[in-house]
Symmetry: C2
Subunit: 346 residues, 2 copies
């Protein structure tokens, strides 16, 4: 799109503030630069294995276009909490490995075709390799955590890994359910997305010796940020271009995945469109024109706007959770990240 | 077969001792009874989840016919090393969860139809559920380990989990290779089977505060025992009945999996049978009669005997590794287990 990757304009849907204000992550990325370079070295070092398929597949997914939001969260939380040493870098690399493992398994489960703008790994190396390399990265994550010596961080991230798996299974069994309501949907994205954001931030605080109030604040910040990111992602599936998404718009719809824009559109169109949703989502019988019609309904019913408003609400709540910390460069940078979460609109 | 499950006769191939001597695990199972009942409770408690597919699928695999060899190894190693408390039970449950997770992923990777005498879980709940419930159990294992508070045990089992994944990927990329040699095959089974046996025993010792010599001895015992079990399993695929195996004999052959009996038969039949192996293993073009012919070649070339001799050698080496401990009830029981490993012939 010719626009710099990390510098876009906020559409503040919650406040209905129509003046666009510039949001960029330059400040955060500069502050976290040395830490993230260290995290990158660790990631590249620890994804190695004498079994050559492993680094090849890992490089495909990890190298290049990954935004590394979750490890960024870990180092920023640790520095905000006053971390003096570099222990948070290992934890951050572990967080990225857990995330990458879940992506690999997710793409097999969903038979996705694109990930991070590239052909999904299972289509190149096969689903078995994706499953097993995911297992490798997951185990490596725990090896890295053991090296930090922090049992609390291990506890937080082991729990998060379990909650993510529960969220994935819940989504698998409920996602095509035409009567899925907002509450179950929120339960799913809290588990499968927001939990790792929450754990990434909390673990960063824990390894820096933050107070329990501060750790709670960081956890809340991470959870709300994760929800905001996921809601915007779900919106982009109905409004974005593939360059922004790193996957094809309409993928969720074609898989019959009930995300918030779709759930709200189904509720708001009621009996009038029941047959359309039954055919396209419940029975997954779709023609090429169906996505356009769904996209139109999602817009016309205000389902897209409501989803973005919810996202903006979570971003605001995330920023508020940082009040347990004194103002300063790291806090401002994390506030920018919350604004950025809701500003990624095409 | 009407024979008691845990009481069979040793065929001591290594020593060419043709007198059958009775081997049973009664002594070990009685000694470990209270611990294994505790482990069972923990397993049943920790496989629960509000997402109902998870306990249903886990129960299918964990309940009933599982032998629980690996957790048995953990508690026996801990007690042999003088464990006074019950911390080893949580570790043992964690070991069984790791094992079950790898089985779930393995069956998806291999498209296996039977596991532990039942229809494989992925054929009932689908491959996506098997992958994700495997992830759940893996994460639960780490949660249990965190509860024990033993960073050393975490280190051992995180490493083992990573080595297992590497072994699985190596097998995936090399298993249909007609020129796979004994050395690579041993590397594969050391990683995918023996490593968890080794880690299960070592972690048991570590949590009991064993000396480093004793921990090394337990690790060696576990590794050799695991190799003996795997070699006998691979033999049973060519000689066993499905009741003994918990899966169909000939499965490895039909998947073109190069196990030691097959590797040796391929080497020993040389050019004479090259075309047969190329068609059945390399190209996986098989008729119903092919398994019978392969079975005959595996027997006639002595490949089956050689595999069993290797197994008996590892069992003997396992017993020898226990010499770092004084004689006593637990040591005898673990020696019996090594004998049992090579006595599971149909």
């Amino acid at each position: 799109m010719g626009r710099p990757k990390w510098s876009i304009f906020v559409v503040d849907a919650a406040a209905a503030d129509t003046r666009a204000k510039p949001v960029n992550l330059d400040h955060l990325l500069k502050l976290a630069g040395p830490d993230m370079a260290g995290v990158d070295s660790l990631i590249r070092d620890r994804m190695q294995s004498p079994v050559s398929v492993i680094p090849a597949l890992a490089e495909h997914l990890i190298g290049g276009s990954a935004k590394r939001l979750r490890p960024l969260l870990t180092v920023a939380a640790a520095r905000l909490a006053g971390a003096k040493d570099d222990g948070c870098r290992k934890l951050a690399a572990a967080v990225e490995f857990i995330h990458t493992a879940t992506l690999l398994h997710d793409d097999v489960v969903d038979s996705s075709e694109l990930r991070r703008g590239k052909v999904a790994a299972h289509l190149i190396w096969g689903a078995p390799s994706s499953v097993l390399v995911g297992d490798f990265l997951f185990a490596r994550a725990f090896e890295l955590m053991v090296e930090t010596g922090s049992m609390s961080a291990l506890e937080i991230l082991a729990r998060a890994s379990r909650v993510i798996a529960e969220g994935e299974v819940l989504q698998l069994t409920r996602a095509h359910d035409l009567d899925l309501d907002e509450a179950v949907y929120l339960q799913i994205i809290k588990a499968k997305t927001a939990e790792l954001f929450a754990a990434a931030a909390e673990a960063g605080g824990v390894c820096a010796g933050a107070t329990s109030d501060q750790c709670r604040g960081l956890r809340q910040y991470g959870q709300d940020l994760g929800l905001a990111f996921q809601l915007v992602d779900d919106s982009l599936d109905y409004s974005g271009a593939s360059e922004t998404l790193g996957k094809n718009p309409g993928d969720d719809f074609r898989e019959g995945k009930a995300t918030l824009p779709l759930i709200l559109a189904i509720i708001r169109t009621g009996e009038a469109e029941r047959a359309f949703w039954l055919r396209t989502i419940d029975a997954l019988e779709q023609t090429d024109a169906d996505f356009e019609r769904a996209r139109q309904l999602v817009r016309e019913t205000g389902a897209l706007d409501s989803t973005l408003k919810a996202a903006a609400g979570y971003a605001a709540s995330a920023k508020a959770a940082l009040a347990v910390f004194p103002t300063g460069a790291w806090r401002t940078a994390l506030e920018d990240l919350a604004d950025f979460a809701v500003a990624r609109l095409a």
